[in-house]
Amino acid sequence: MGSLYLALLRLGCSRFVWAIQGDRLSELFTTLGDMIRAIRACKTAAEERAVVRKECAAIRASVGENDQDYRHRNLAKLMFIHMLGYPTHFGQMECLKLIASPGFPEKRMGYLGLMLLLDERQEVLIDLNHTNQYIVGLALCALGNICSAEMARDLAPEVEQLLQFRDPNVRKKAALCSIRIVKKVPDLAEIFLNPAAALLKEKHHGVLLTGVQLCTDLCKVSAEALEYFRKKCTEGLVKLLKDVVNSPYAPEYDVSGITDPFLHIRLLRLLHVLGQGDADASDCMNDILAQVATKTESNKNAGNAILYECVATIMSIEDNGGLRVLAINILGRFLSNRDNNIRYVALNMLIKAITVDTQAVQRHRATILECVKDMDASIRKRALELVYLLVNESNVKPLTKELIDYLQVSEQEFKGDLTAKICSIVEKFSPEKIWYIDQMLKVLSEAGNYVKDEVWHALIVLISNASNLHGYAVRLLYKAVQTAGEQETLVRVAVWCIGEYGEMLVNNVGMLDVEEPMTVSS
């Protein structure tokens, strides 16, 4: 009976097992599927807690008895329970026991449990030297996700050896594992330089993908690595990108007609890092960047993702006028795309492009202003930031007018941001005091309650310092309060002003040409 049961368990026919066993056992050892069904059937949180508590008790009993047969299933249940948000630390030893077992399915489950339930503070035995390549792969995965600095130091030489393993899957995982090691212990970067450069000559896309990522991260962590890769690998990388771009149809990696867009993007990112701040490297990559920018299809998301990365790269490497213009044109096209996602990333990139070429971005000002009024909150936020960066002395008046007009119709959550930005713009760029007062009053009438204290204090200071405008200011405020009296801040400013310059108001003193006479009865 016992061995039949075990055999059925190995075959995965857990449902049969449940039927064969007697009542008492079946109550304790429900299958994973049963537990999930029971949890799904719960209508309230209290019911769910009761079910989970019962299962945890059963698992704890099983763990206490050091029961081998159910370890695999117990761990699967624990992972599900952990995902729901319940504590599961009593199961951690089970992970380690499963990892130490000889069978592959048990090891697999153990490693999965390791990665989900434990974190880097645990010490774990790792079988990096196992003969079975899948097991080595598992160990690398676990190490790559959770190893600590000490473990990294201990196991670095072995991982470096594995970068040259016969199986490409292991090489690929070893590369990612190396990334974590290098981040935890940056001094170890040197031992990975040569093997990483060697990875760039591989044909397997998975290995290339991770190899390129390893090189990128090495450059971030160590300045010598950056120099090394710049000198030795830039040309090779350019050629690699050219090959990927021109490669024929490969069904395994094809996404919407483009071969392995992920690899395209990774390569572009590495070129970005290498070209930044170095004229020679940037020169080397000009042609391929131009080719990618002009030839990539932009009617599918994959193509656009590549174009986006390409534009980011062009913007950060050393100047080549033609490429920059190309890049900003692509962004302009993105801005008028109907897809919200594309417009969002375009705005994002334009914010970075402003520091590089303000003129070019100014040309798209009208479209950007439209985006400030968009229905999507994320787009509005980005567009507003961009507009704020675009303001200068020559365009401040029309831009402010547009923004204030929009303030009247914008949604409540957005008014705060918008008001703050408008006040900031007005303060920084205002050409004349009278214009400043005009704009501030409009803002106060429309959204006075969102205006911060420092802002209207500054307004009062400005008014008191502008003696020729006292009369103008007080009359304007008086008119404003009559229509927008619910704006508290406006009323405060008005009251102060009338208090100071009341006689000017009543007697129409100090009138400017633009004003019309007004009668005020007390």
Partner: protein, 143 residues
């Protein structure tokens, strides 16, 4: 680096799969999941797929009753992450055949195995569906 976490959540806000690449305690995870899910579920189809949250971004996409949410650093290419989500769905589809929420629930370990083959330590490792599924198919044959 790159990806911080991957979540699959249904329309009622229940988490069906959670993979974190940075350490967070249980309470932090629950709080995080609650906040993000509320934000994403409240958005409609016309809005873009990117939401800013604290100091990073969430890229999300809805497939039938499941939301796929990926939390990424600010420097990450958002459009590429959208492609990655699609790749993940297609891979699961190929393995389970017309994958649905129940498949993921009842075969959680398989879904995790697939995800592990694709992403490691927040970094995309493999993008070819057959390379991803080979070890899993071998495992199925062995057990």
């Amino acid at each position: 680096m790159g990806i911080r976490f991957i979540l699959m959540v249904n329309k009622q806000g229940q988490t069906r799969l959670a993979q974190y690449f940075e350490y967070l305690t249980l309470e932090e995870r629950r709080a995080l999941e609650g906040e993000i899910v509320r934000k994403c579920l409240a958005r409609n189809d016309q809005q873009c797929s990117f939401v800013e949250h604290r100091n990073y971004k969430i890229v999300y996409r809805r497939y039938a009753s499941l939301f796929f949410l990926v939390g990424v650093d600010n420097e990450e290419n958002e459009l590429a992450i959208l492609e990655f989500i699609h790749l993940l769905v297609e891979t699961m589809d190929r393995h389970f055949g017309n994958v649905c929420e129940l498949d993921i629930m009842f075969h959680l370990e398989k879904a995790h195995f697939m995800l592990e083959e694709m992403v490691m330590n927040g970094c995309i490792v493999e993008t070819s569906k057959s390379n991803i599924l080979t070890p899993i198919q071998l495992l199925d044959k062995a057990s």
